[in-house]
Symmetry: C2
Subunit: 228 residues, 2 copies
């Protein structure tokens, strides 16, 4: 199993997050990639304190997780970490430059052409839930999400993965789209929903998810309020 | 001058966009990088039609510009194109993997930790300008922008560039932050405003901007409504 206290690769993760974020925190992306290639890693856990302590920002400019370090690099941004791993292992990204760059293009599309359309919906549904303005704003943000999902759906067509094989782009797109869970929005795009399901069914994803959730389970702040 | 009709590198750009987008369209990022390294490129122009014709989506899944092709790759997403160029030229990204990956981390931070906070403000100020909900929503979106800008400001400190030298990360961060022009928001972060100014003062940036604007000037749909 890749989680190993003496591993040369270290990532950071949170000890616990609220239920709506469990299974979505971005260290999942790195855990998944490392599981795909069987590379062991150790996890350094942060408390989710508000405000976050200054030392969090010294290693991650936005006070987030994950960070990543190995013998060669010290990194933040899950997208950059996936690129670093992908360039080292052909199970995550093709060996030729053209194929590598296509995977990187789709990874960045997930981060910059798809996720920014999704994030305001999370504000509407969670952070600002119930506020008056959200009723009027919702159709506008929803339209933006669906127009971007239509583009992903059209480009994906009947392919199994975004390009002609599994890459870090699929890890990124699947984990970005999982943020729509519970909204029903993906129901309108069956081939995109199938892509997410295909990703979630990979054994490496399932091990990564179990390892993230096990940490939260072990660090429940209020056991009586927790869901199983 | 890098713009050259017979160049092996081809990018796409729009013939004309409204004033609020002029100087901000993302082909600027690629033009700037190519100017930095003196590599010639040719430009294939698209009309900005609504709805966009299906063939736009075949080469760029989201119907946007720029796309990029050379003898080796066919790409979309300005971030991926900058990474492709950066990995080939030490004027854009260090030659060692650790330095390359730090530049890529900051490039992705611009695209995924900063720009998503800025985009809703553009919706408020342009697309949905004057709608009732925007008054209540504005402080929330503004708080998100300023909290992210504070992180960039703290990480930048008194450095000239995001890392210890100019890289594609600075091209990305500067062009992302230029979308705040006219809002006054950067006034609260003098070192970040100075980073933007430092980028804009580079001769390569100025040539790239002039070349983008010259295309719009030459393709004004209604000369009488245009600003100089």
């Amino acid at each position: 199993m890749p989680v190993s206290p003496d591993a040369p690769i270290e990532i950071t993760a949170f000890k616990w997050v609220p239920g709506f974020a469990q299974g979505l925190v971005r260290d999942l992306r790195i855990r998944w990639a490392l599981e795909e290639i069987g590379r062991p890693y150790r996890v350094r856990l942060h408390d989710v304190l508000q405000p976050r302590p200054p030392e969090y920002f010294l290693e991650q400019p936005f006070g987030q997780v994950p960070t990543y370090k190995d013998d060669e690099v010290e990194l933040f941004e899950s997208g950059a970490i996936l690129i670093h791993l992908g360039l080292q292992d052909e199970r995550l990204l093709p060996g030729d430059r053209a194929g590598q760059m296509r995977g990187i293009a789709w990874l960045i599309a997930a981060l910059n052409s798809v996720e920014p359309a999704i994030l305001p919906m999370i504000l509407l549904n969670i952070t600002s839930k119930g506020e008056a303005w959200t009723d009027e704003a919702r159709p506008k943000f929803l339209e933006r999400i669906t127009s971007r999902l239509k583009c992903v759906s059209d480009a994906l067509g009947d392919k199994q993965w975004l390009e002609d094989r599994f890459t870090i782009a699929d890890i990124m797109m699947v984990t970005v789209l999982r943020q729509l869970r519970g909204t029903g929005i993906l129901d309108g795009f069956p081939n995109v929903a199938a892509l997410v399901k295909r990703g979630e069914e990979r054994p490496a994803f399932q091990r990564a998810l179990a390892d993230q959730l096990a940490v939260f389970e072990a660090n429940q702040p209020q056991p009586e309020g927790a869901t199983a």
